[in-house]
Structures are given as C-alpha cells and as structure tokens.
C-alpha cells in the first residue's frame, strides 16, 4: 500500500464518474488539439516560406497582372539569382465542390522547379513536362486524392480563362518535407498565353506575380526596394516583399476566423476546468471525514492536499494523454478530407506542449479550492461530517 495506490483506489470508488470525467477531459483536449491544428494549418504557407524568395505583385492588388516583360529586368537587379512567374488559372474540375478544388497555376516550366526546390520531380518526368506544351505536373497528394496517374488527361473548364482545357499528367512532384504543399497543378504558362491570344487577347503576355530568388536573404529589403523602384513610374507599379510576408497577408485576411477558433479552443479548456473542478469538489466533500481520520492518524494537511491534487492530476493527465493520442489520427483523418483546403495539416509540437500544459494546469487549478478547504478544516469539524 502506498499513497499512489490510495489515490488510484479513491479515484475508482465511483468508477463511472471518474471514467466519464477522464473521457470528458480527453474530448476537450482532442477538440483543443484539432482547433489548434486548424489554426496552425492556416499559417502553413507562412511557415513553409523560403527566406531566399521574394514575391513581386501589382502594387494595387494581387488580382491585377504584371507584364511578362518585367522578368528580364528583374533578373538584372544585383542580388537576384533567378526569376520565375505564375498565373492563378482557377477553372473548374468536375464541379465547384471542396472535394474538386485544388490550386491550378500556369507557370514558367523552365524555371519553376529550380526556384521551388522543395517540390521534387523525377528528372525524366520533368523533361517530359518541359517538352509537352499541354502537359502538367501535379502534387503527390492531389494524385492520390483523385487517382491521377502519368498519362491521364485532366479536363478543366476555364472561367477566368474561358474554354475547355485538358492537361496531360507528365509528372508528379513530392514535397521535400511535410511543410510542402502537394496539392497543386502546374502547367505551361506558354500554353495559357498561346490560347489566350485567340480567346482572351486582353490577358496575353501578363503574369499574376513573380517569384524572385535572391542570393542573400538579408538583402531582401534592399532588393525588394530596387525592384519596386524600377516600376515606380509605370502603369503597373509593383510591390515586392518576402515570400513570408506575402503568405502572411493571406493569413491576415482570415484573421477574425483564426482568432475565433483560438478563443473557442481556450473556452473549451475553461469548460473542462469547470467540469473537473466540480468532480473534485464533489469527491472531496464526500471524503471530509476520511481526510479528518487520516489527520488523526498523523497525516498532515499537506498529505491531504497531495491526495486531492493527485486525484485531480490523475484525471486531467490521463484524459489529456488520451485526448492527445486521439488528436493525431483524428487530425490525420480531418486533413485527408480537405487536402486542398489544408494542404499541410499536421499536429505541431507546440500544440502537443500546449495541450499537455493545459491538462496539467486544469488538474492543479481544479483541485486548488477543495484542497485548500480540506486543509483548513479542523479535524474535529471533519470528524463530525457525515460522509
């Protein structure tokens, strides 16, 4: 017999109560972990940003295009090592449901994978992509989600760029690490530009944005200023910034939603704190006399506090561990349902640490009032209580 055994035995005096409370904590921690993972997934683009890449876009709005002629001028700025570009194609694959949404980008086939080295394409597939004007390279997750294979034709109904478009899968890229977005489709900007001459001449020779690779990340501010200075007096002024800042601006658009999710995640913790506190208060009240008897035997108020806190921590940490264990498979399942909305959906170490700390804090706080009350109670008053 030891104190830990006494804590365990007391906990399962009312098995159903303890089990339900542990499960309640587990569900709360699971919900907290899932919400936090959604919040962090929203910012994955920021985290995946490369320090040696800048994004140059139209100064007025991202939706306005820039002349493709800017490319060579930007490439000539000291400190710039490589320039590529992209257009947001959009279009509709099958229908406009979430399941069939994925990013579709017209890119410079020659340079895109040199700038985005984290997207790894087998050499033969890259060669095939470069060779075939109407081909595409797709991400691994996208291929898995829709069962696309090399040689398949992906039909897209254009909206920004009208018409029926068909792209033959020439390659599948895999992310170098888990922060890489594997849900995109890249096709030839030249193909887009060529067809646009016939169908939408007003959009020809224009790109959505430039991605500028630089040699020294600490020169980012200077090079950005130099690029923007080039076009300060043109009709299509530019705004250049680090890729991280560019991604952050998108995240900021959803700031209210992200903040709401964070608040909800903390509210959930608050709720389970109340539930656990109620359970511990009930348990402590039922055992006032027992605690008094223990003190008559020579156990001190600190022992009683330790018993109460021990029970509370057992519940909170067991529930927390269970909730955290469930967070991984549930998050994995959740992310798999929305691969293109959340291309990178992984439980971050910070989420695990936060959840564990909250479980610990909840256990301590929930026990604080009943522990203090039991410790302050006089032995003679405790012995008079009817258990």
């Amino acid at each position: 017999m030891n104190v830990l055994k006494l804590i365990y035995k007391n906990l399962f005096r009312h098995s159903l109560r303890s089990v339900l409370t542990i499960l309640g904590v587990a569900v709360a921690v699971l919900a907290f972990g899932l919400l936090r993972t959604v919040v962090t997934a929203w910012s994955y683009g920021v985290e995946a940003s490369s320090a040696d890449r800048l994004v140059t876009r139209h100064a007025v709005s991202f939706i306005f295009p820039l002349p493709v002629a800017y490319r060579d001028q930007i490439a000539g700025i000291p400190g710039v090592t490589r320039v590529t570009y992209a257009n947001w194609f959009q279009g509709i694959y099958k229908d406009q449901s979430f399941e069939n949404f994925f990013p579709r980008l017209a890119v410079d086939a020659e340079t895109i994978f040199e700038v985005y080295k984290e997207y790894e394409v087998p050499a033969d597939q890259l060669a095939a992509f470069k060779k075939q004007r109407n081909s595409c390279v797709i991400g691994r997750k996208l291929a898995e989600q829709h069962g696309f294979k090399i040689g398949d034709v992906i039909p897209i109904t254009g909206d920004i760029f009208p018409g029926r478009w068909e792209f033959t899968v020439a390659g599948v890229y895999a992310g170098k690490d888990k922060t890489a977005d594997e849900t995109q489709l890249f096709f030839h900007w030249d193909y887009l530009n060529e067809r646009s001459r016939e169908t939408a001449p007003w959009v020809t020779d224009q790109v959505g944005w430039y991605i500028v690779q630089i040699g020294q990340p600490n020169e980012a501010a200077n090079i950005s200023a130099a690029i923007d200075a080039l076009y300060a007096n043109s009709a299509a002024k530019t705004k250049s910034e680090t890729e991280k800042a560019f991604q952050q601006s998108f995240v900021s658009l959803s700031g209210a939603i992200i903040t709401s999710l964070e608040v909800i995640s903390y509210v959930i913790i608050g709720i389970i704190l109340m539930v656990l506190a109620n359970t511990i208060i009930m348990s402590a009240r039922e055992r006032i006399r027992e605690y008094a008897v223990l003190r008559t035997l020579g156990f001190t108020a600190f022992h009683v506090i330790g018993l109460i806190i021990g029970e509370s921590l057992f519940i909170s940490m067991s529930g927390g561990a269970l909730g955290l264990a469930l967070t991984f498979p549930v998050s994995s399942w959740f992310g798999a349902q929305f691969p293109t909305i959340f291309p990178v959906f992984a439980v971050q170490p910070s989420t695990v640490v936060l959840a564990a700390l909250f479980a610990l804090a909840v256990g301590l706080i929930a026990a604080s009032f009943p522990a203090a009350r039991s410790a302050r109670m006089r032995i003679v008053d405790g012995l008079r209580q009817i258990g």
Binding site: M1, N2, V3, L6, K9, N10, R13, R289, E290, V293, L294, R295, T296, L297, G298, F299, T300, A301, R378, I379, V380, L383
Partner: protein
Amino acid sequence: MSTLVEVQNVTKVYRRDTMEIPVLQNISLAVPEGEFLALMGPSGSGKTTLLNLISGIDQPTSGSIIVAGTDIAKLNETALAKWRSNHVGFVFQFYNLMPVMTAFENVELPLLLTNLSKKERKERVEAVLRVVGLEDRMDHYPKQLSGGQQQRVAIARAIVTDPTLIIGDEPTGDLDRKSAEEILILLGRLNKEFKKTIIMVTHDPHAAESAHKVQHLDKGELRQD
C-alpha cells in the same frame, strides 16, 4: 506508577461567529501509566472535547496537557500530527475505516508515516491482526465485515504503531451487545496483557465496568466522585 497524562487547568471555549461557547472549565486530571479510564457524562458535558484535547486533535483555549512528558498544548499543527502518529491510537464509534482499502491496508495506514520497510510493515500488520483475531480476514474490505469485525480492524489500526495511549470515543456505541462485549474484552486484554493506557468515552455503564476508573463530566467540569 508514573503519570502518563496530566491535564492542568484546561479550558476550552468554542467560537461560533460572535458567540463564545464554553465547553470545558478549568479541568485538571491525571491518568497514570497503564490505567484504563472511562469518561462518562450526559450529552454536551464536554467528554469528547476532553478526549480530543488529550489526543491532540484539538487544542485548549488555556491550560496545559502533558502526555509522556510533552506539553502538547504548545505544539504546532505539524508537530502535533507527528506526535499523534507516534503516541496515540484512535478507536472511533463508527470505526472510520477507509472503504476502498482492505483490512490489511487500513491497518497499514499509520505505518506509512514510519521508516519501516514493506516487509516490516507486513509483519507488524499481520501480528496485530492476529491479536484482534482477524488474520483470516485481512484481504476483506470493510463492507465485507460485520460491525464488530470492523471495530476490531480499527483497534488493530490503533495499536499497530505501538502507541503510548489508546483513545476510544464510544468504541461500542454502534455495536450489538455481543460485539460490544468482544470489543471490551479486547480492550481489557490490551490494557492487562500489553499494558496499554486507555482513555475511553462511553455512555454505557456496562462498558465503563471494564475500566479501572470512571470519571464523570457535567457541564464542562469534572465531578469529584
């Protein structure tokens, strides 16, 4: 025989909000070592309060209580707890066993505060359970024992640390006649064979007959018999 317990001019006043309730008034009492003392009196006479003061679970408003040479009225809470664990064994009216622990584990509880090894604790527990005649019930939970058996487990718990003093607060109050008799015989045996000093509060004149001496309290004062 030397004096084990010396109560000197003890007064106890309880305070409830702004009211003061005097419970004991200038009590003096000496209990020799090896004595079996019964405290009797009507309800509200202060006998349980006196018992609580002697056993160190409450402290007097004034006066001193010297047990085995220590004035326990001067000890702080932590020191009193340690003193109780070494010197006092309690037997309550309603047994007050831990319901989630077996008889063995209940008796072992006070020994968790000592430096005894697990093996030593086991030996002691088994020995005292033999003394009270429950060696074959040590794995039973309180709800699996009769009232008399539970009280015997409580007595075993009270004596397992070999205390200086055994305190009984109506130890037979919740028992039938037969079980009460068994308990009184056991207490008598502890007193005669093991030379334990016992102070017992009781309403039952028959229980008081087991004691060497009976003291009566009335309205917080000791009656000189």
